[in-house]
Symmetry: C2
Subunit: 243 residues, 2 copies
């Protein structure tokens, strides 16, 4: 696969353009940010809870997640991320990481110094607006996850997670929502939905039996998008995708 090294900001700018009206100067400001490209294998940590990060990481390729641990060691994934996402925008403004970030597949990341981004924000109000909006959408997704984990039953939780993944993937321009390869293991789906991997497995089988999805290894085909949305109680408004 071709690394995005030649244009690391392509997907990010694509996303921010949907969030605010960037002009050429704004775009140029983003493109002149200093950065450092690092490649990671699956399962490596980019940020540890408690760190004081000085850089923000922009995911160029692959998939990542953010998670927290209980004192007893149980893990809760709080978000999944894909190419074009900034994984820890909060470190622009918050000193200490309140959660960890790790890759879930092999990945390529561009590290951007937070100080440079902050300085850019003061001179480019439209970028300020776009990034703020991006972080507010992040927060909206967290709220939906509280609802998902708090009030939906197991089958709906898994279905909702799949719907969100498909919808975001498509919105980010990474491929169709009809059929895709899941980057995460069933254990990671379990950690994201507050379940055990065993029950995730059963619910995936149940969704297939219901005829809304077909699976082959990690690849998922959504056979009935209407039915799948119903199964997952998925209404995409919270993604704020429509401007």
């Amino acid at each position: 696969m071709a690394p995005n090294n030649d244009d690391p900001f392509k997907l990010l700018i694509h996303k921010l353009e949907r969030l605010a009206k960037l002009d050429e100067k704004d775009e140029a400001a983003i493109r002149t940010l200093p950065f450092r490209i690092v490649r990671y294998t699956a399962g490596q940590h980019l940020v540890h809870e408690g760190d004081r990060p000085t850089d923000c990481c922009l995911l160029l390729e692959g998939f990542a997640c953010r998670y927290k641990l209980t004192n007893s060691g149980a893990r809760q994934i709080v978000s999944f991320h894909m190419a074009g996402d900034i994984l820890d925008l909060q470190h622009l403004m918050l000193a200490r990481a309140d959660h960890s970030v790790s890759t879930i597949t092999d990945a390529v990341v561009a590290w951007l110094p937070a100080a440079n981004i902050r300085e850019m924000l003061t001179r480019h109000p439209v970028i300020n607006e776009a990034l703020w909006r991006d972080s507010l959408i992040d927060a909206s997704i967290f709220r939906e996850w509280v609802l998902n984990v708090g009030r939906r039953d197991a089958k709906a939780r898994v279905a909702h997670m799949l719907c969100e993944f498909a919808a975001r993937r498509e919105a980010a321009g990474l491929g169709s929502a009809e059929r895709f390869e899941l980057p995460m293991t069933q254990e990671q789906i379990a950690d994201a939905t507050g379940m055990t991997p065993i029950h995730v497995n059963r619910m995936l089988h149940a969704l297939a039996e219901d005829g809304v999805i077909a699976r082959d290894k990690r690849s998922v085909q959504i056979l009935d998008w209407e039915g799948m949305q119903r199964a997952g109680d998925f209404r995409p408004a919270y993604l704020h995708a429509a401007a």
Copy 2:
């Protein structure tokens, strides 16, 4: 109780000063924002999911919550709020409300036109920073709630919710964390923790039997703050209270 009408911005400025170094001009800019004071009784709605709000609401007195509903009508409270909190800062930047806001006690609210706030942000970078930081802390709390609801057992969930309420209340200067009056019903605690009110009731009794709290009607006394934090797996770093 004396309404905060005489200085509606007092608690907000107090909070923002801990988030960024406001100077006198910044403070003056906040104080000259136009506003409209409205009084509400318990259980009234300030924002409905799907609305396109043009104003942001600043809570001056009383308590409020934000919540979402599943299609089947189950409610999940995603946050509790107290005097000094802006309840829907996201409407500065996001057109449609992705959740509802309602009072849980009698309350006084100042409505601030979002356009005026946005205009203020462009001229006062420090306020921009403070409000952004506030919304990032909001997001951090949502992440902790995903963890709470997803990976803690019933007793810990209730204990965590109480710890957070006590800690935020104290940090906001609204009184001691040792003893306080709960503004919310057990049904609302249930909706916040993803439980049934019946089980919330049992867990409150269990915490009292464990000797970490004492209750009398809605008033709660924390007898053993260490033990209570242990019971709730509560580590306050996610509140980002220390600058």
